[in-house]
């Protein structure tokens, strides 16, 4: 699993302050920590970045490259910021992200070609987020075909099905199952494409201390179905261990749950039982509530 370290994120107060003040300390600490923790890419989520775009991107990219040799993922919806970021990258970067929206196709995809980089393409279109497996596939096939015409090969495309918060009443659990299905069949419909997800969105809105187990369990499930990469927190040691296959008994339990096998919770230690309960919720086998581990 390719892990794109998510921790340099403009929503974080310390990151946004550091950007404004051009203070390298925080940024470089986050870059170093993620590099040492085993991330494969460093994501630079700068938001829309309307002011001092060129200058700030140049500063940020160089600031990170001073302390880390990892390739960067430039994460913004603003094509000007995107280009400003891409052009200073020393290693082949990841354009994060384009979509099937008209503006994105016209402004982002050509940048991927121009800078010969990998590109995340989400299933989003001008009509919104396709909710079902079929509509997601339909939408992504169209956008990938468009990208191919621009000269971007499938191998450079990282498809993002867009993960939604599990806690969204009624819809969240269904969406979790849909993304799992989508990832499972993606290679059949678009051979050679890669895939990625914004993992932590699955636990958005969930009490803070309960977020990691949802993220970890879901990543194990997505990985089983063939997910190539995830934007995630590399500082989560257990998440990284799971991805290295170091907790095979946990992985096995999650797989069993995915397959609908009965797992007897009473025989399991608390931690293992929590993984099974979480997998049940993510498979929509049981209704989600914030108290899902307490049942």
């Amino acid at each position: 699993m390719i892990i794109i370290g998510e921790n340099i994120h403009v929503i974080s107060k310390e990151v946004s302050t550091a950007l404004k003040e051009r203070n390298p300390t925080v940024i470089q600490r986050l870059a170093k920590e993620q590099t040492e923790a085993g991330a494969d890419y460093i994501d630079l989520n700068v938001g829309p970045m309307k002011k001092d775009t060129e200058e700030t991107m140049k500063w940020l990219v160089n600031c990170v490259q001073e302390v880390s040799n990892l390739p960067l993922s430039i994460d913004t919806m603003n094509p000007v910021a995107m280009e400003a970021g891409l052009k200073h990258c020393k290693k082949r970067p990841l354009l994060n992200s384009a979509s099937g929206k008209k503006d994105s196709k016209e402004q982002m995809l050509p940048l991927a070609k121009k800078y010969n980089c990998d590109v995340v393409i989400s299933v989003m279109t001008d009509k919104g987020m396709p909710p079902e497996v079929e509509s997601k596939i339909e939408s992504i096939m169209e956008t990938v075909a468009y990208a191919n015409e621009l000269g971007i090969p499938n191998e450079d495309i990282w498809v993002d099905p867009i993960i939604l918060p599990i806690s969204t009443a009624g819809e969240g659990q269904r969406a979790a199952v849909v993304c799992l299905e989508f990832i499972k069949i993606l290679q059949d419909v678009l051979p050679g494409v890669k895939s990625t997800v914004g993992l932590s969105n699955v636990s958005n809105g969930v009490p803070h201390h309960l977020r990691p187990i949802l993220n970890r369990t879901y990543l194990v499930m997505l990985a089983r179905n063939g997910l190539y990469s995830a934007i995630a927190d590399p500082l989560d040691k257990e998440l990284m261990s799971l991805m290295k296959g170091e907790l095979s008994h946990v992985t096995e339990l999650i797989y069993k749950t995915m397959d609908g096998e009965e797992v007897d919770l009473t025989t399991l230690p608390e931690k293992e039982a929590a993984y099974v309960k979480t997998a049940r919720v993510l498979m929509a086998q049981t209704l989600y509530s914030d108290a899902w581990l307490e049942t």
Binding site: A169, G170, T286, L287, S289, D290, E294, T295
Partner: protein
Amino acid sequence: MEYKAPIEAYKGVVREITIGRGEKTLKIGGENILPFHYFDEGTMPNPPRFALEVMDMEPGEKIPHLLEPFGDTITDPIKWAKKCETFGVDAICLTLLSTDPAEKDSSPEEAAQLVKKMLTELKKPLIVYGSGDEKKDAEVLPRVAEVCTGENLLIGPVQKENYEIVGKAILDHGHIAIAQSPLDINLLKELNVKLCKFLPPERVVIDPLSSPLGYGIEYSFSLMERVKQIGVITKDNMTMMPIIANLGSECYKTKQAKENETQGLLWEAITATTLCLAGANLLVLRHPETLKLVKKTLLGGNEKWQS
């Protein structure tokens, strides 16, 4: 080829709960099919039941066509309740409106004594709703539970802010809890999970909030429908409880119901019928004519239910 209708059999059973004691009891729930799915395998042993609501104080807003059937009894909650009994109710729902700090802020003791007195005078089982002020309810409802020990009252609303103290009193004094959460299936389950850590699920009825026609009934409908689906189809322990739809007063907050009698009746009746179809087991109404109309609509054709 002859068409054969598919027949579903479900795993879950909505818990059958008995309210009240002795002669004055009422059973709700117990179905192992989706609402009114008689064509499937299973039964709905108890029809939807109906209560009329009385307040422990004269209503501030006087809607003439709503209050007319009760005459001057509305100044005395016990007389008002007895009047309700003449309209063929299955239960009486007493709302302790006067305890609301925004109303009279009357004391827990006063409220509890009224409930106790009403119990001795009524022939039908009693549902007791606090004012909904979660802090005041945390004082009022435990006192009611204590003064009426062993009466097996249906008491609520138990909310996430006060479930520990109110739920404990309900457990200790032998009553049933109305677990109320704001129109969200996940929050509803969470409250039930937390409550059922100490209160047996056989002592919980769900109140998912009932929005009237034109004011969000779709949300209440989907939610009740989903509670039943998840309970009956997937056998989720935390949603296999009967549902109470406390809709009467909500309906009479609408401009349309206040406007005139016919509109009021239809507003309440359509809301009630709709929520029955979604899965409500016990419905709290305001107007006796609505009660007649809804009973006739829903239960009229079912011989077993005509009593």
